[in-house]
Amino acid sequence: MLKKIIIILSVFPLVLGGCKSSHKLETASIIENVSVHKQDGQLVYTFYILTDSDTPSAVAINADSFEEAQSLAAEKFIPDMSLSKLELLLIEKEARSEVMPRDIEYISTQASFSPIARVAVCDNAVIEKMRQVSEAQNTIKNQIVLCKKNNPDVNTDYLSVFNSFSGGRDKTVTVPYIGGNGDFKVTTIEINK
């Protein structure tokens, strides 16, 4: 009898309290990539939601920082947003000086942000292409992997970019740079800390 009472008492709060934390697969918005570019002097953060269609499902938000953009996106535009599967953070070269290292610093405090996400700088044409064609995202990621193979010293993921900014004796941080219109070419660029 005592065992049954204990089991019922254990199960009851289990049922009541367990369901709150669910992020259902069918309703979750998994963010695959994020890009940052400048438009009319304003930073625009674009969140690309994971989808299997040929046209990317993207939400563009005007904000002054990644923190503000993330907060606005979660509250108003993208319910049940998850950044755990983020694979690419693309920063337009004109927005680079404002974004790095401020946003890099903020992201380091967020446990939900994937530390192995790829980070790269690009030109405006690449951002435009990414907003039009889903396949562009995969091409960019493959190019970054190739860049790392050819240049082992380049920092391609968020973790190495952050650590390079934070410590080390070098005064610059080397990241991939993606240029070209449709025919993406990857080189490297040095950024002053």
Binding site: L2, G17, S21, S108, A111, P115, I116, L159, N163, S166
Partner: protein, 354 residues
Amino acid sequence: MRSEVRFSSKRLLLTLMLCACSVILLQNYSVPAELSFTLKLCSLLLGLAVCFICFLPAVLLKKRSGGDLLSLVSRRSMLEQRAVGVFYAVYFLYASLYFLTPYCDMFCKKYYPDASPCLVAFLLLACCVYAAFKGANAITRFGIFLFVLAMLTNILMFGGSVSSLRFDSGAWAIEGGADAFARGVNYFATPCFIAAIFVCLAGEARLFKLRHPLIAVALTGLKFALVLFFITFAVGEYAQRQEYQTFVLSRVAHFGSFAGVESFYMALCTMSVFMIISLLLCCLCKSFNKSGSLPFTASFAVAAFVLHFIAASNNSVKEILTDPLLLNIFSICASVVVPLLYYFRSSFERSRHA
């Protein structure tokens, strides 16, 4: 009909080693960041040396009587038994909360932000009551499965972080103040609590050899060293930006596009804390000679839950319950002072009779 269970000493020490390894899993800015890697290693060695020394009194008792402290105390007066029982009960309760509180905090912050820490604590304690009711023998058998999970998780965590290794020559320098070094030694001496558990369970272990606790402590040191190494050279500065640095290490680990090692880390943490609290509850009941009593075990679990609930809403209580210095002092009293008292007392009585 009660059964007299004696199980292999190797298995007991394996279980205790896994308990000790969980200390580094739940570290939260516990290792002073200002210490260089070399000094961290030195403080680790010193801390674990203290841990091994804490085993010696129980080993002496085991060699002399073949039993443990509690079997020695059971021959004394009722008042003395109660006093020792109360002391160890308070210690084991405190030690349970020392692991329960940070585990619930880590779990709710990193995995289920919307979950209530009290609900997590309640469910975990309910499971621990069941395991403690089954006895130390069953828990040590469970330890073999946990060992397999620990090996798998370590391989994934360390193997997945190899690609992120960046060696900075500055990390090998001797840097860091004496205060930081002392805090480091204090933190790395936290596994002393396994010596206190050994004090209570030594009588149930057969085929005991001195090298068993030495190997257990050495393997604990190896695990700690590997975690420190990968956090320093693979995660780097990023580790100091978030709580629970070993979680961050598991987050960083990846094999190509396969990530998600933090799920294994969560499983290992959960099972380790489950095993620790179960073992502590088991020892708690044994200190009152109430092994296998479900109501008795459940009552102390309720007490632990109430204290956890208080700690969740009161930061000063939380700080007391998670203070490594307090735990170490307590552990040394439980594993060294009290057993030595009884050892010398029995030696004195023996020489008097002789």
